[in-house]
Symmetry: C2
Subunit: 431 residues, 2 copies
């Protein structure tokens, strides 16, 4: 990505500032656009992507060739690759966003003051949103759809590995906006300025209203450290499942397996399993057998290691590092705890604040787990995998915030807006 | 304050980290405290301040003596000075906070998902709040009251000019908390570590959940530039009053005078008056006469300068700098504009995004002013002075945010909380 030592020339800073200034002007036009205008534009963008699949795929080929030359891994190459089918999927995601309610103009609260003033607090676009992300061209389109619907201009900084694809996509989308009577400057990129351009974007205070980094921990840490504009951290998930002594055994196994193996590379997958000592003897052998069937490797403390024999699970000894690790793989740390208190203490010590689940039939234990843990989501008798904008019924998801300011947990379109207070009177002054 | 070149020794960083770690532990205790416990503690703190007025005033004398030796201005000395009456006022402000509703536990939204899961999003404390402010000992108590009620631990960094007063106040408040069965570590200060301590606080990522700077533009800019923890900017107010061609003359004069002169040193005071060309001939002479009676100096463009004669107002020629200036004094920039469009354009160019007012009797103009300007508060036919937590009925005010993330405009207790999602199920897993 970029770091403190990346030099920004005055030229690049001025160019990025000019881009952001044009974005701000364009955002002022979009701020008063009706939902009908925005939805029509989203459908036009989707149509344009499908109509231009051939040139987009041609540009994508350049990225793929460069990737192969640079020995990019097969997994990353696959994420980078665009096909007609994938372009149709990406285009359809824009139509899905069009179908969502417009967050702009929503009245959050309001009242009539004693002096007769009518007060409302209503949602209004942020203005200019910066997005810094890695080599997935679909994120380019996602970001455009979400920011357009929420009334914002977007400035993109994609990974250099997807530079040709992104350049072509941005060119097509910006030109299409103009055919819809909207400013092309709503969609711009700083990719031409490389890493210094990204750093200049992070420093564009007063012009960029919020910066959303999407990607791995390194990218996010760099942005948080470097940025002087406000940032929404979308974060890592070191999620826990705690099996209480009163848990239903079958439910406990189902939730453990689903939380760990439904998809292993995602932030809401479980990474550590905590098991109450009193239920370990019955629960752990069955859980290990079920996890072994999904090829999970368990990283066990001494007490939990005692139950692996005969279950077929592959096991390694856990160290403290395992408690802190977000594996993002078919690995699961396992620890036996004395009681709920020790489980809460373990989670408080090691969690990244994403999602924690308890499996229990004890009312008081459930309520204590909810009250005493402070993560973005707390599950009682449900899989950690439910922490998701789609699952929560929020529609599109911009990301899952693990910070406490502004947005926490799954973020939908409203999280890309701010509010303003409107006060209507007939000449009131302060006495 | 502090800047990038302020050296932090490893010792100071470790001490501040230890303070923040203790604060985090203490906050976990407070997070589950009931409103009754918190309100009782707030009243006990108020009682303790009044009971300890003598030692507090004695400590304050040291600050005042040092201030006089350092040629502190009479205005600043007055803000720094504590008397029995002022201590009683400060104590009563804690009782006022006790009377406000508890934001913690409020359900923001909730639903039942198709698979039967019950979803709620509820307010929960931020955790550890840092406050960096200037030499006003009353802010120390304010900060303690607001953070305690919202379930947070606070780490204070007051101005060095009030160091003795703050040390004594923190000592009394922390000791009183313990008598209430709450951890003394809920109220701590890094003042003993000077500027490096403040910088260490700004860098305590993962331990400090939000930092609220309160003070002048220099302090706020330093914190925003330096901090790696999340910051809520409480900001400057370059507020505008626009007199439309259709304005009621008497209302226009009242709102102009009230917005400018009700209190000149505050962020919601008007700093620039924009006047539609068609009403300038009748409005400006009368407005100047009324402003002259309040000893306001006007900084006029050429067109508005033409109407000063015979009004008794003192006038100087405005330069572009005047459009950008937050005077915080009995000065007002004045410009004649051609129409609403030019007024909106002027405000968009120069505003700090705090409060803008229009005086008009034209419905379409009022609605355009609301829709096309993007400031924290928009007033129609009302004084800019209404942008205030108390006036808006929010109860206590932590500050007025001019940023767009998390909170915008007057911030009450809910803005010192974050949310968490709670999901209750009976074994649901992702299919």
């Amino acid at each position: 990505m970029s770091d403190n030592t990346t030099p920004i020339t005055a030229d690049i800073a001025a160019n990025v500032e000019a881009i952001a200034t044009r974005a701000k002007k364009a955002a002022q036009v979009l701020a008063t656009a009706t939902r009908a205008t925005k939805d029509a534009a989203l459908h036009a963008l989707a149509d344009a992507l499908i109509a231009n699949a051939t040139p987009i795929i041609a540009a994508n080929q350049h990225d793929l060739e460069r990737g192969r030359t640079n020995n990019m891994s097969p997994g990353l190459l696959d994420r980078l690759a665009l096909t007609e089918d994938r372009i149709t999927q990406i285009a359809n995601s824009l139509r899905d966003v069009a179908a969502l309610p417009d967050p702009v103009g929503e009245i959050i609260r309001g009242s009539r003051l004693p002096n007769g003033l009518r007060l409302t607090q209503q949602r209004t676009p942020m203005g200019v949103v910066g997005m810094i992300y890695e080599a997935r061209p679909n994120v380019t389109v996602d970001a455009v759809g979400l920011t357009l619907k929420s009334g914002n201009a977007v400035i993109l900084r994609g990974g250099s590995a997807a530079a040709s694809s992104n350049e072509k996509i941005v060119e097509i989308l910006a030109a299409t906006l103009e055919t819809q009577g909207l400013p092309a400057d709503l969609i711009q990129s700083v990719d031409a300025y490389g890493r210094p351009g990204a750093v200049a974007l992070m420093h564009a205070r007063g012009l960029v209203d919020v910066l959303v980094p999407r990607g791995g921990a390194d990218l996010i840490n760099t942005v948080v450290r470097e940025a002087t504009v406000p940032v929404i951290e979308t974060g890592t998930g070191n999620c826990h499942v705690y099996i209480d002594n009163t848990a239903d055994l079958e439910m406990a196994i189902n939730i453990t397996v689903n939380s760990k193996t439904h998809r292993v590379g995602v932030c809401n997958a479980a990474e550590t399993l905590l098991v109450h000592r009193d239920i370990a003897t019955t629960f752990l052998p069955a859980a290990y057998t079920a996890l072994a069937a999904q090829n999970v490797t368990v990283h066990t403390d001494d007490a939990s290691a005692a139950f692996t024999e005969g279950t077929g699970v592959s096991a390694v000894a856990a160290t403290e590092e395992d408690w802190a690790t977000e594996y993002l793989s078919a690995d699961l740390a396992v620890r036996v705890v004395d009681d709920l208190d020790q489980a809460i203490d373990h989670i408080r010590t090691w969690t990244s604040g994403h999602t924690e689940a308890i499996v229990t039939s004890d009312y008081a234990h459930a309520e204590r787990f909810i009250a005493e843990l402070d993560s973005a989501a707390i599950m009682v008798n449900a899989s950690t995998r439910f922490t998701d904008g789609g699952q929560f019924g929020l529609g599109a998801e911009i990301g899952i915030s693990t910070q406490k300011l502004h947005a926490r947990g799954p973020m939908g379109l409203p999280e890309l807006t701010t509010t303003k207070w409107v006060v209507r009177g007939e000449g009131q002054i302060r006495p």
